[in-house]
């Protein structure tokens, strides 16, 4: 690991108008100059803007991939290896921004989470590391059990506990396996249904954006939709974690 000179780059004032090529003055430049091809200094933009997209959630992933490849051919450090040191630094930063943006936007869940992040919403940590951290520090992690799942989860946990006991004693209970298998299928179906529900809110959101023709939609209207998305994501995380536990328990 080396200490990079990025710190120094950060300190340097960047050209104010990032749409004018620093090298030839062409006005169409954003990431690279359309006229002379030079990589431009990275501008602090969100991932949607980076790809020249409105902040909408229904997105054609194959077009995104095409744009990703095209931008890679301009911004990647390999293709700017003979440029000046400053340009190489910009190429490295631009290219990492491009990769980060593509990785986030092509995945439906990450894309939704990112939009919520842009809306200033902090999502409840459901990640495995957060769970481990809570376990290690003894903090009680907020775990919201969706009310409609309470009964099912209670039963499933009983079965899983039973399965663990059986594993210790070496007992084999095919009926128990079947029960857990059924519960897993049910959870997977619920997971699918949640994704479907989420896509409905995407369309609501996109409609809101379109209706406001680029200017920001009223805060309360945005909040109404994002709250629903947060709810779906939380329920989805909960179910996904359950499925993971079930898979771990079923593995011999």
């Amino acid at each position: 690991m080396t200490k990079s000179s990025l710190t120094e780059i950060n300190a340097k004032p960047l050209p104010q108008d990032t749409h004018t090529c620093w090298s030839c003055g062409d006005m169409r430049a954003s990431h690279f100059c359309g006229s002379c091809g030079k990589v431009q200094p990275p501008a602090p933009v969100d991932y949607f803007t980076f790809f020249g997209l409105p902040p909408k959630l229904n997105l054609d992933v194959s077009t995104l991939e095409k744009d990703f490849y095209e931008l890679s051919r301009k911004l990647h450090p390999d293709l700017n290896a003979r440029a000046g040191i400053q340009e190489q630094e910009w190429s490295l930063e631009q290219s990492s921004l491009l990769n980060d943006a593509y990785r986030t936007l092509r995945d439906p869940i990450k894309r939704t989470q990112y939009l919520l992040h842009l809306e200033g919403i902090v999502l409840e940590e459901q990640s495995k590391s957060a769970t481990e951290q809570a376990r290690a520090t003894g903090e009680v992690k907020k775990q919201i059990v969706p009310p409609d799942l309470l009964e099912e989860v209670f039963e499933l946990n009983m079965h899983l506990e039973e399965l663990r006991m059986n594993k210790k004693t070496g007992d084999d209970d095919p009926a128990l396996f079947e029960e857990i298998g059924k519960a897993k299928l049910s959870l997977e179906a619920k997971h699918e249904a949640l994704l479907h529900e989420l896509r409905g809110y995407w369309t609501d959101w996109d409609t809101l954006i379109d209706r406001n023709h680029g200017s920001k939609a009223p805060a309360e209207e945005r909040a109404k939709i994002t709250a629903k998305m947060v709810d779906v994501l939380n329920r989805r995380n909960y179910i996904r974690n359950l499925v993971r536990d079930v898979n771990a328990a079923l593995e011999v």
């Binding site: 690991m1 200490k3 990025l6 390999d78 490295l92 930063e93 290219s95 590391s129 376990r135 290690a136």
Partner: protein
């Protein structure tokens, strides 16, 4: 000669190679023994001078304490994580190692770090290339196993610097192989590269799309390869010898190396023969004789090659692909010559593997392709672009000793992540950050990359400072970190304590002697060659002056030639080879008409029935300039 020759280097566990793009084709540059493969063996001769490659192999058996092989296994590793290697390999760790110090290995009376030993191999490859080009080579692309971590990559880059090479890029070995594969097969599709070499195993799954080589997932084991098969066979032989002959040779380095040589030959033979006979001469006039059938061999190595299954399955899972969706499984690395390994790959990917590539050379050839792309490309590499990934997740240690992953494995590189930190005590000026690499949940199970101290945070109440730390993995897979306190806008100072690896200052210190020597050697060679050439042309001129043609020149022309002759004489006494070459070129230019006139004389003499010997031509058609490029029929 192109002064900007960028070479591609495969720095392997067992063998190393250097290649470059000749026109549209990557080619391997042979050593002075005419062989493409340079064994990754370093030895010290009786005068303590390093000997590298084929000529060093003899030392392994004769003076094993003055030779080292498979040094790649130790790159970027600490003394505590090589205990297993020490049981199997004759590495001799320095006795005076201090805690936290970079590993040093004894070689003869000296101790050297793994990057310094690797640098000797790199310098040999550099020299081979320089001899081939007739000019200095200073830039290279070096390949590394895809599953190499940050410390192993940094150690490889350090080795390059120590050898006097600017390492323009570290490329992952399977990806490099895919570049060579894709160069002539302009085809789109999903390709799995199964790379089982001497010491490392990698699996990479790529999507080839109109010249873009996009790695989707990669996995591997940096300590799995042909070495493990050799060690297994050596152990069996040693056990046999102890049991049957009552001879314990485990501490006898010479005997172990003789056994190693024999089992490697047997292993290679078993790829093409149903059985081989081992017959090894041992101390005390004893012999070890044993027949191994391919069937027995396959049973023995099954547990070793089975270790490649897990990484392959994980890579498929990470790529979200089923085996049927792989269009081609490409074999790379010498160990894929073993029929049993080929059978395993067929089983894993549900298809006959592609064996059309030379498994020993394809990685170096691919590195040459990447070198060409970095150098601005050519017609053959037009539109080619490699998008690689980071093989391991990058994490930060958080409360409770847990790893918080901030860049996940298989993220396309360059990749970045920004984290925000604050203080816990009023007026706290430092924040400690522990960076980790690996997939495990607990920090202690991951690889420690470095500990950072963010320093110089302006005094504020606890929780008020907001330090933005940016982690960036570059296209080499190496991490860079920068930090800024947002409220004050002040750059926070980062103090890096790499957990493994050399500091910049240490590397600088190592460069100077080896680098200077290499440059000096090269310069000296150039001067000698230039002086030889100068002597040749001056001798030819003397002959020319005695020819009839000399009389046909004008006084002015003769004066000019005399002036250039004098200049060449003068610079030939100096040590500046470039000046000598310049003066030679000038004299060549200035004597063109003399050469033409001599030619005419020769032709007319021939017409008059005289033989070539009777002309004033001197040494005939093979005479060096001033005869220019005349051709006689």
């Amino acid at each position: 000669m192109n002064s900007d020759n960028i070479v591609g280097i495969d720095l392997g566990t067992t063998n190393s190679l250097v290649a470059f793009m000749q026109g549209d084709t990557p080619v391997v540059i042979p050593g002075d023994d005419g062989l493409n493969l340079v064994p990754s063996v370093v030895a010290l001769d009786a005068n303590n001078q390093p000997v590298i490659g084929n000529s060093a192999r003899g030392y392994l058996i004769e003076t094993p304490e003055r030779a080292v092989y498979s040094i790649k296994r130790l790159m970027g590793r600490g003394v505590e994580d090589i205990q297993e290697e020490l049981k199997l390999f004759p590495f001799r760790v320095a006795d005076d190692m201090q805690p936290g110090e970079v590993l040093r290995i004894r070689l003869g009376d000296k101790t050297s770090t793994p990057p310094e030993i690797s640098a000797l191999i790199l310098r040999q490859l550099k020299r081979n290339a320089e001899r081939y080009f007739g000019g200095p080579v200073t830039k290279a692309v070096i390949t590394v196993p895809a599953y190499f971590n940050d410390a192993q990559r940094q150690a490889t880059k350090d080795a390059g610097r120590i050898a006097g090479l600017e390492v323009l890029r570290l490329v992952n070995e399977p990806t490099a192989a895919s570049l060579a594969y894709g160069l002539d097969k302009k085809r789109n599709g999903i390709v799995a590269v199964y790379d089982l070499g001497g010491g490392t195993f990698d699996i990479s799954i790529l999507k080839l799309h109109d010249g873009i080589f996009e790695v989707i997932a990669t996995n591997g084991d940096t300590h799995l390869g042909g070495d493990d098969i050799d060690n297994l066979l050596i152990t069996i032989a040693l056990d046999d010898i102890r049991g049957d002959l009552g001879l314990d040779l485990r501490r006898n380095a010479e005997a172990v190396q003789a056994i190693r040589k024999a089992v490697i030959e047997a292993k290679i033979a078993l790829s093409s023969q149903p059985a081989v006979k081992l017959d090894i001469e041992l101390p005390q006039g004893k012999r070890y004789q044993r027949e191994i059938t391919r069937e027995q061999f396959e049973q023995l190595i099954q547990p070793i090659i089975d270790r490649t299954v897990g990484p392959c399955k994980q890579a498929l899972k990470d790529a979200n692909l089923k085996p049927e969706q792989i269009d081609e499984a490409v074999l790379v690395g010498g160990s894929t010559r073993i029929p049993k390994v080929r059978a395993l790959v067929k089983e894993l990917f549900h298809r006959e593997p592609h064996t059309g590539l030379n498994p020993d050379e394809v990685v170096a050839l691919g590195a040459a392709v990447q070198a060409n792309i970095l150098g601005g490309g050519s017609q053959a590499t037009e539109n080619m672009l490699l998008l690689d990934v980071t093989p391991l997740s990058l994490g930060i240690e958080v409360a409770g000793g847990v790893t918080d992953k901030i860049i996940l494995r298989n993220s396309t590189i360059p990749a970045s992540a920004t984290q925000f930190y604050t203080t816990q005590i009023d007026g706290q000026a430092n924040v400690a950050i522990h960076v980790l690499q690996g997939e495990r949940e607990l920090a202690r199970d991951c690889r420690s990359l470095a500990r950072f101290d963010l320093k110089g945070i302006p005094p504020m109440a606890a929780g008020i400072p907001r330090v933005e730390v940016k982690f960036l993995i570059d296209a080499n897979g190496i991490l860079h970190v920068s930090a800024r306190e947002q409220r004050s806008g002040k750059e926070a100072e980062i103090q890096v304590q790499p957990s493994y690896g050399l500091t910049d200052e240490q590397v600088e210190g190592m460069i100077l002697d080896s680098f200077d020597n290499a440059e000096e050697d090269f310069r000296r060679r150039q001067v000698i060659e230039a002086r030889n050439e100068s002597a040749t042309i001056l001798a030819a001129l003397e002959k020319g002056k005695k020819s009839a043609a000399w009389g046909q020149l004008t006084t002015d022309e003769k004066k000019q030639i005399a002036k250039m002759e004098k200049a060449l004489h003068a610079v030939s006494a100096e040590d500046d080879y470039q000046a000598i070459r310049k003066a030679i070129d000038a004299l060549n230019q200035g004597t063109t008409r003399l050469a033409e006139l001599m030619m005419d004389t020769a032709v007319s003499s021939a017409l008059k029935g005289k033989t070539m010997d009777e002309t004033d031509l001197g040494e005939g058609p093979t005479a060096p300039h001033p005869m220019a490029k005349a051709e006689f029929e």
